[in-house]
């Protein structure tokens, strides 16, 4: 084990004091949403208790403080992902899904012509599929898919042919169903070699491994605060400054303009052009605390720890319930994160999750907003367990105990 101590993170995270069905909570649903540590919750409390005011408009002291907190979050989260110029590159949205809609409705609608191709992969979340189908309907673009191999990794043999005519290659850094980590820099380079832009869905990776948009050489990156120990209601859209500056506004209203007259409007410059209306200020304060907290843990340490725990999980599942439980994801731990989609023979995922709940175990049943991927593997649903920096070996022991009970109940 590395020097990283998950017990410290657990002690910092209030929800771990919860008791569910007379058992301590076993939270294995971080791929859906991570649990915020106390500093994140306190940062939002402190904001509302001592600084709350609307941003960007006031002259009075607390309005300036609120603006400093909000803009400080933009700077901090930018530095966290290696953005060279956060004030001109980071847009705050509602969530990863809205970030992709911003990309499609602003950059996509302004740039793509009928017949242009957007390439995605079969392992994408619906957030990185549906906005492109919407553009297919309104702008006549083509949506193309990179297939997934039987070993749950991208089939890149025909990538060069797939990239022909492609204007944007938009793909996930890590699958929310399979746990598969994709070779981001390699895929970005392939896109660029064909004159295409590259967008990365970092929602699943950003809280679990170091992110460096420069090393990726990506053009666009989307992720959410609540998947990196931060609050819900705040998404991040990062774009290279020159690309962002050329993008037209997506949502119109207050805060996004330079001027409005009775005969029209002039949009503001920079990221605020995309932040119409009062933004999520308290959530930005929470994100800022989350970024500092993760930095204090060290993302490299978190990544190494979760890698070890992922290896243990796969071994444990195979040695205990391996004859009845199939893991829908890579069997090896190379380029793989702590997401385990479980297919329990003879037991529907909803029933699995229901029995697990009796043991205090939180997992997610369903299609995980990735129906093309589920269909690819002939599954309607799986029960998904996923790790966070607060996950420990005893969580996995309870998971197995509960899986054994589910298998016994349904025979």
């Amino acid at each position: 084990m590395s020097s990283f101590d998950p017990r410290r993170v657990r002690a910092d995270t209030p929800i771990f004091s919860r008791v569910i069905n007379d058992r301590p909570i076993v939270y294995l649903d971080s791929a859906s949403s991570t649990l915020p540590p106390r500093p994140v919750i306190e940062a939002m409390d402190h904001y509302y208790s001592g600084h709350h005011a609307n941003v960007h408009r006031g002259v009075y002291q607390t309005a300036n403080e609120a603006t400093d907190i909000y803009e400080g979050a933009r700077l901090d989260v930018g530095h966290f992902i290696g953005a060279p110029d956060p004030h001109h590159e980071i847009v705050f949205t509602k969530n990863t899904t809205e970030s992709f809609n911003l990309l499609a409705r602003s950059w996509g609608a302004a740039t793509l012509r009928p017949g242009d191709v957007v390439l995605v992969t079969e392992m994408e979340h619906h957030a990185n599929i549906v906005p492109w189908f919407q553009l297919q309907a309104t702008h006549g673009i083509e949506v193309r898919f990179v297939p997934v191999r039987d070993d749950y990794r991208l089939d890149l043999r025909d990538l060069d042919q797939l990239l022909a005519g492609v204007k944007l290659f938009s793909f996930t850094a890590m699958s929310n169903v399979l746990g598969t980590r994709n070779p981001v820099a390699e895929l970005v380079a392939a896109a660029h070699a064909h004159g295409a832009r590259a967008a990365v869905d970092a929602a699943q990776s950003v809280g679990h491994q170091p992110t460096d948009v420069g090393a990726w050489d990506a053009d666009f990156v989307c992720f959410s605060a609540h998947k990196m120990l931060g609050p819900t209601g705040l998404g991040i859209f990062w774009a290279r400054a020159d690309l962002l500056e050329a993008m037209p506004p997506f949502l119109g209203g207050g805060g996004m303009i330079a001027d409005v007259r009775t005969d029209g409007f002039v949009p503001a410059h920079g990221p605020t052009r995309f932040e119409a209306g009062t933004p999520p200020i308290a959530e930005a304060a929470g994100l800022r605390a989350a970024v500092r907290y993760l930095a204090s843990l060290g993302l490299g340490e978190v990544s190494r720890y979760e890698h070890e725990l992922t290896e243990q999980t796969l071994e444990l599942l195979a040695s205990t319930v391996g004859d009845r439980v199939r893991v829908i994801g890579p069997a090896d731990v190379v380029d793989r994160g702590g997401v385990f989609s479980l297919d329990v023979e003879g037991v529907h995922p909803h029933d699995v999750a229901q029995v697990l709940d009796q043991f205090g175990v939180c997992v997610r049943p369903g299609h995980h907003c990735a129906k093309p991927l589920m269909r690819r593997f002939g599954l309607a649903a799986t029960a998904r367990a996923s790790l966070g920096p607060y996950s420990v070996r005893s969580d996995l022991d309870v998971l197995v105990e509960a899986l054994v009970a589910a298998i016994k109940l349904f025979g």
Binding site: D351, Q354, Q358, G366, A380, L409, F410
Partner: protein, 154 residues
């Protein structure tokens, strides 16, 4: 605390393991699909309706134990009944699956269970209402049957 035994009664598990009236139905007078988009459950209800009587019913599809058992128990409860009686069973079942607000705390509580003894084993599903997220699993087959009847007997 809702107990798992309230949900997974033995009779429910029996219907899940050995579903009644499974398969496609040759000569069906209607074929109706039902979906639960949240969990991906799918169901097809085949009916033979003649002279105001539900002469035969069969089901195909996949889903959790609650949706599978509920559809199996439904098929056993309605097969051979007059359409108006089938509609009454559907109404009674859906009433049993309805939550009503309980006092100031607003906690969901089961509605008073209607008398389903005449409908055989269906009363075993009453415990589902203690697990609100599973109600839609139990009602999928019934909503699909109601839709099938509406289409079959306009």
């Amino acid at each position: 605390m809702a107990n798992l035994d309230d949900l997974y009664r033995e009779i429910i598990l029996d219907h899940y393991r050995s579903p009644r009236n499974r398969g496609e139905l040759d000569g069906a007078t209607s074929r109706t699909e039902g979906f639960n988009p949240l969990c991906g459950d799918e169901l097809v209800v085949y009916l033979v309706v003649r002279d105001g009587v539900l002469e035969d019913i069969k089901l195909t599809g996949h889903g959790c134990s609650i949706s599978q058992a509920s559809s199996s128990m439904m098929s056993a409860a309605v097969k051979g009944k007059r359409i108006e009686d089938v509609r009454h069973v559907i109404e009674r079942f859906k009433a049993m699956m309805t939550l009503h607000e309980d006092g100031a705390e607003g906690a969901p509580a089961p509605a008073p269970a209607p008398d389903l003894r005449s409908d055989g084993e269906l009363a075993a599903l009453a415990g589902v209402v203690k697990f609100p997220v599973r109600i839609k699993c139990a009602t999928l087959a019934w909503n699909t049957l109601a839709q099938a009847l509406d289409e079959a007997t306009p």
